[in-house]
């Protein structure tokens, strides 16, 4: 009974929930701090979106829950770390052009390397277990162990410090609100990726076929499209996004460590459960919710920060078991 009430008013409840989420923290946080936290939350949300969107599209199209996504994220961070180490003079140069260049080189290298890794993973491992959720989870979990251990073999087991390009460091002070430059960059990257994904999915033929495949794989095949090629492609794109997320996150948290994927994979799972598996917009909304609440709560009640997202996830599951934006709606 309570459930049907929830279902009927789910839209309104979600709206009220959103308002509460954004406004309630103001009661306990001074306005300028609130704005700084909001920016931090948005930046973190955008980075989570990069990881979660890959998980979400891969699940939507291929019906594969990729537990190895977190390790691809870590690989992206480490490849980026290597590029930064090799081009350290560019990182430390007081020149926006050189800083941007090193960031772009690192980004492209990380995305291509990890996309290739993703293709390998899909072709060699994941392809053998299509249609069997249990084995998919097991096998991608196994792949995670291998990929994380390989990081330890290649880069060593210790944490490494990630240096942010010089002109990306520091902050602007706008009307007493502290605006960190790198956070703004993160928000811009997230928006660009979101816009790009939407453009591809809605405006190109390939994107339309992917969306059709999310709804009905068999029918797309019966219409003459090579679904397996599509799977590999989508897996590679998801992996590349994870790599971008990993690189951006390592600059956000100023470090790389072999197990970093695990933590963010969890965040990604929470995000896609909140947002709805298979929806890019759902991933964005879910990621922003998680990013914002995490930052507000970490300021107000530090020890509860890890739990509050799980709490939100549970509430969403009770109200809308398929998430806020189910695929195909």
């Amino acid at each position: 009974m309570a459930e049907s009430v929830f279902r009927r008013f789910s839209q309104q409840i979600t709206l009220i929930g959103a308002v509460v989420l954004f406004v309630l923290p103001l009661l306990g946080i001074p306005p300028t701090t609130y704005l700084t936290l909001t920016l931090a939350g948005l930046a973190m949300g955008m980075l989570l979106f990069l990881v979660a969107s890959g998980v979400s599209i891969i699940f939507g199209l291929m019906d594969v829950l990729n537990f190895a996504h977190g390790s691809l994220f870590a690989w992206g961070a480490y490849v980026g770390f290597t590029v930064f180490s090799l081009l350290m003079p560019w990182v430390e140069a007081d020149s926006l052009a050189l800083n941007l260049a090193v960031f772009l080189v690192a980004m492209v290298t990380a995305m291509i390397t990890v996309a290739l890794l993703g293709i390998l993973l899909e072709r060699v491992i994941v392809r053998r277990v299509y249609g069997n959720h249990l084995f998919q989870i097991l096998i991608t979990f196994g792949a995670t162990i291998v990929l994380v251990e390989l990081i330890r073999v290649f880069w060593g087991p210790n944490d490494e410090v990630m240096r942010v390009p010089l002109t990306f460091r520091g902050n602007w002070d706008i009307l007493d609100v502290i605006v960190y430059r790198y956070r703004v960059i993160c928000i811009i990257i997230g928006l660009l990726v979101y816009g790009g994904l939407l453009l591809i999915l809605k405006k190109t033929k390939l994107g339309t076929i992917v969306r059709a495949g999310v709804e009905d794989r068999d029918m797309v095949q019966a219409m003459g499209h090579n679904i397996y090629l599509l799977f590999t492609g989508v897996f590679a794109v998801g992996a590349a996004l994870a790599a971008l997320g990993g690189l951006a996150m390592s600059l956000f948290s100023l470090q790389v460590y072999p197990d970093m994927g695990g933590t963010y994979l969890l965040f990604a799972f929470i995000v896609v459960i909140i947002g709805g598996l298979g929806s890019v917009t759902g991933s964005l909304v879910g990621a922003l919710i998680v990013g914002l609440t995490y930052n507000y709560v970490a300021y107000l009640v530090p020890w509860a920060a890890a739990g509050v997202n799980i709490l939100i996830m549970i509430i969403i599951l009770l109200i809308r078991p398929t998430g806020l934006f189910p695929a195909g709606e």
Binding site: V129, G262, L266, W303
Partner: protein, 369 residues
């Protein structure tokens, strides 16, 4: 006395056959081996190894109830194990005196907390989609670790809690010498845990052979059909999950009793406990219960003697730097092994043996026919 029916006779002959089969003797021999371990190999290392194998065999079997018999993958099984361990640690370590009453209370608490939490999680997730179970249990397990670490006032944080075992379980207890070894608290604890795990294992075996267990397998094989037959799949799956998690909690409680301390790293960690449990169940064979013992024995023995292997590798091939790196990263090898087993050997050791036996049997039947 009434004439036995043919069905009755068949059951009786089956039972007799059961006690005569080579499998039965093998099981008895294994049990005997574990009973004799403190006498045959009294060193601390081997007794501890045997105990770890026994406890993990029971833990893996309880995980198999979920994975192999219900078709549900939980990353929270280690958490239930840890909850059981912490419950005992709270009652005879941090908040209670070491008495038998508190110990029993600790076990009851372990079972109760596990049951309530497992029920809540299944109510929450099974409604949605079975694969959510893996994601949500992983999230909740990580949360448990964070809470156990951060709420250090309550849980002792990273350092954990040391236990004080009561009476006959305490290290100070000594019954004197028997057949050349001291019957001390540690030996008593060994047998207590061995027989507790045996009891848990038999209960699980009974559970899977019961009508309930058969319904669960029907659900695992085909949810739609089971639903069409009128079974409340949700209810059955919840019961099974709760049962498996309660056993995990109890094994965790026994574990705490054996190692004498709990901390987040050793009792809750997804990466250490869950990884071991998954490897064990895959290697031994899903849906077999006995597979847990094989998997646990293989993994625990390998892990225990791994440092020796590493030394051996260094002595034999002092130049092979790469080999040393790989040996340092033994987890890498386990990961590869894990993937290979899932791909090429998905039934595990026990499952494959059973399949081979069934094939031979059917071939024999064909020959006689």
């Amino acid at each position: 006395m009434a004439e036995p029916t043919p069905v009755h006779l068949f059951h009786m002959s089956e039972k007799r056959r059961q006690f005569k089969s080579s499998g039965f003797f093998l099981k008895m021999a294994v049990l005997l081996l574990f009973i004799l371990v403190p006498f045959l190999f009294p060193s601390f290392k081997t007794v501890d190894l045997a105990m770890q194998i026994v406890m993990f065999a029971a833990l893996v079997a309880s995980f198999d109830i979920l994975l192999g018999y219900t078709g549900i993958l939980s990353f929270g099984h280690g958490m239930f194990f840890g909850i059981g361990a912490y419950c005992v640690a709270f009652l005879i370590g941090k908040y209670g005196s070491p008495s038998y009453g508190n110990l029993i209370l600790g076990f009851l608490l372990a079972a109760a907390v596990s049951a309530v939490l497992a029920l809540l999680i299944s109510l929450l997730t099974l409604r949605v989609k079975a694969i959510f179970f893996a994601m949500i249990t992983l999230a909740i397990a990580e949360l448990a670790i964070v809470l156990a670490t951060k709420l250090s006032g309550l849980t002792g944080g990273e350092d954990g809690i040391s236990l004080f075992t009561p009476g006959i379980f305490s290290p100070a207890f000594n019954l004197g010498e028997f057949m050349g070894i001291d019957i001390n608290g540690r030996v008593v604890t060994y047998y207590f845990i061995l027989f507790s795990c045996l009891a848990l294992f038999l209960i699980m075996l009974r559970f899977t052979k019961s009508p309930l267990g058969r319904v669960l397998q029907a659900i695992r094989d085909n949810v739609q059909r089971a639903e069409a037959l009128g079974y409340n799949t949700f209810l059955y799956q919840s019961i099974s999950i709760t049962f498996g998690c309660v056993v995990a909690g109890l094994v965790g409680a026994l574990y705490a009793l054996w190692v004498g301390y709990v901390n987040p790293e050793s009792s809750l960690s997804v990466m250490t406990i869950m990884l071991d449990v998954l490897l064990m169940v895959i290697i031994g064979g899903m849906g077999t219960l006995y597979g847990g013992l094989i998997g646990a024995a293989f993994l625990k023995i390998t892990q225990t003697y791994l440092p020796d292997l590493q030394h051996l590798a260094k002595d034999l091939f002092p130049q092979a730097e790469f080999l040393h790196n790989i040996m340092e990263r033994w987890l890498l090898l386990f990961g590869v092994l894990f993937i290979l087993v899932v791909i090429f050997f998905p039934k595990g050791v026990i499952g494959s043996i059973r399949e081979y036996g069934a094939r031979r049997k059917s071939r024999g039947l064909n020959k006689t026919a």
